[in-house]
């Protein structure tokens, strides 16, 4: 019985190999413009904060236990008041924004103006400019999903630009 099974394997193997090797796979051309609009279109619309976690960079650098590296501070101040609206033009390019902090701390210190991303395909930073384009502030991108954003506000020293803490904001679509 085993002998017959082996014959079948020997008989079918070349046929299968021929079939798979002749199966030509084709991939569509990468449409970067299309990818660009998909990514920025994820940002389009109104977002509200659902969670804020504060991270201590020194504790991270020191290798301290994970439970002393961060704190969920969502309820310590009215962080869930914080809202951002990203607007885009018909071509899917960033245009203007509004930040409505409510009673929440506003570490970006900006409320309206224009915005931009550093790289539309692999976005790592979203930068906001005020209406006079004299001041700017940025979110560092951790996650951009259709209905969820995780963005960081980094706090750096004024003298040496050293990162000393950051806030991680989770936004949900309104």
């Amino acid at each position: 019985m085993k002998k017959y099974q082996m014959y079948w394997v020997l008989l079918l193997a070349p046929l299968l190999l021929t079939t798979f090797s002749s199966c030509k796979r084709t991939y569509p051309e990468l449409d970067t413009d299309n990818l660009l609009s998909i990514k920025t279109n994820y940002l389009k619309g109104n977002w509200v904060v659902s969670k804020v976690v504060q991270y201590d960079q020194e504790a991270i650098d020191n290798g301290f236990p994970v439970d002393v590296q961060s704190k969920d501070i969502t309820t310590t101040y009215p962080f869930t008041d914080y809202k951002v609206t990203f607007n885009l033009d018909d071509a899917g390019k960033p245009t203007n924004y509004t930040i409505t902090p409510g009673a929440s701390p506003n570490y970006l210190s900006l409320n309206s103006g224009s915005w931009a991303v550093d790289n539309p395909v692999a976005t790592t930073k979203i930068t906001f400019f005020d209406n006079n384009i004299t001041n700017n502030a940025s979110f560092v991108v951790k996650t951009i999903e259709k209905d969820k954003l995780v963005l960081r506000v980094e706090r750096r020293g004024s003298t040496d630009n050293t990162l000393f803490l950051f806030y991680e904001y989770t936004f949900v679509r309104q």
């Binding site: 201590d56 650098d61 290798g63 501070i73 750096r156 050293t162 000393f164 803490l165």
Partner: protein
């Protein structure tokens, strides 16, 4: 401009207990090229260490000693920075004066490399990498010198290794360790670790704060309320955080009256009773927050 506030937790009682178990590092100074002493007693970035330096191999320093002049420590981390406590080369800071232990033997106790250098562990790791060593091979550098180092009244450069900081529970902690006056900060008090029995016996605690505020070129002290009125100010009450811990969450700039351009450079905090301001964690146990 955002100012960083760096926490340096100075707990007097804890410092005393730490000094009781202090690590001792012995080295023999010489002249000429730099020396690395890799086999000294192991100590961490964040713990006190006593350095004992034998200067018998440095004739100019022996001459200083014989002339009844003192020897001083000059600290640095190669590839990073010098200690802000060093003073001038021609006029060393008295904070770095060493103690004569015996003939040709001088000592000094550092609260920690972290505090002495006012540097972060990341800076020390970056300095190791910039000196072509693995990041965890961090070193403290120093030499010993006369008050006035003019004319090379000094030893060679010396380096000793230290390990990373060790996390240990504390009676008072500030989270995060570094923050600006507009940041959210959480103070945590663990009464189980408190040494003041009268304070430890209580079940509610209040925060007394005072801040050094930079006003132009000057610094002035401001307080939200006096110690006597802290217990009448609900916003200064700590919240039970489970077990024996109590927390206070705040944004420093919201507790002090600050005009435009004024910045907080230092905050001192005392944990105290609601009813009796004299029952407190003690002025010597204040955490000190220093602007960078």
């Amino acid at each position: 401009m955002k100012k960083i506030i760096v926490t340096t937790l100075l707990f007097f009682v804890f410092a005393l207990s730490a000094y009781a178990q202090i690590k001792v590092v012995n080295v023999s100074a010489g002249t000429g090229s730099a020396a690395y002493f890799g086999n000294v007693t192991s100590f961490s970035f964040s713990e006190p260490v006593k350095l004992i330096v034998d200067i018998s191999g440095v004739p100019v320093l022996v001459a200083e000693e014989n002339a009844n002049r003192k020897i001083y420590l000059w600290g640095f981390i190669q590839g990073c920075c010098g200690s802000g406590r060093n003073g001038d080369w021609t006029n060393s800071n008295e904070a770095n004066v060493m103690t004569k232990e015996a003939t040709n033997k001088w000592s000094i106790t550092l609260p920690s490399v972290k505090e002495f250098m006012q540097a972060s562990y990341k800076q020390a790791k970056d300095a190791a990498v910039s000196s072509n060593r693995p990041a965890n091979e961090t070193r403290f550098g120093f030499l010993v010198k006369g008050k006035d180092g003019t004319g090379d009244i000094k030893s060679q450069d010396m380096e000793i290794p230290f390990t990373g900081p060790v996390f240990s529970p504390s009676v008072f902690t500030a989270f995060p360790a570094n923050f600006a006056q507009g940041d959210v900060v959480t103070f945590t008090f663990d009464k189980n670790l408190e040494n003041n029995a009268a304070l430890k016996a209580l079940n509610e605690f209040y925060i007394y704060m005072e801040a050094d505020v930079k006003v132009g070129a000057n610094t002035t002290v401001r307080i939200p309320v006096t110690a006597a009125n802290v217990g009448n100010t609900p916003s200064l009450k700590m919240t039970e955080a489970g077990g024996t811990k109590f927390t206070f969450v705040g944004i420093p700039s919201r507790y002090f009256t600050l005009a435009a351009g004024e910045t907080i450079t230092e905050i001192r905090v005392v944990i105290q009773s609601r009813t009796d301001a004299n029952v407190n964690s003690g002025i010597k146990k204040n955490p000190v927050f220093i602007a960078k």
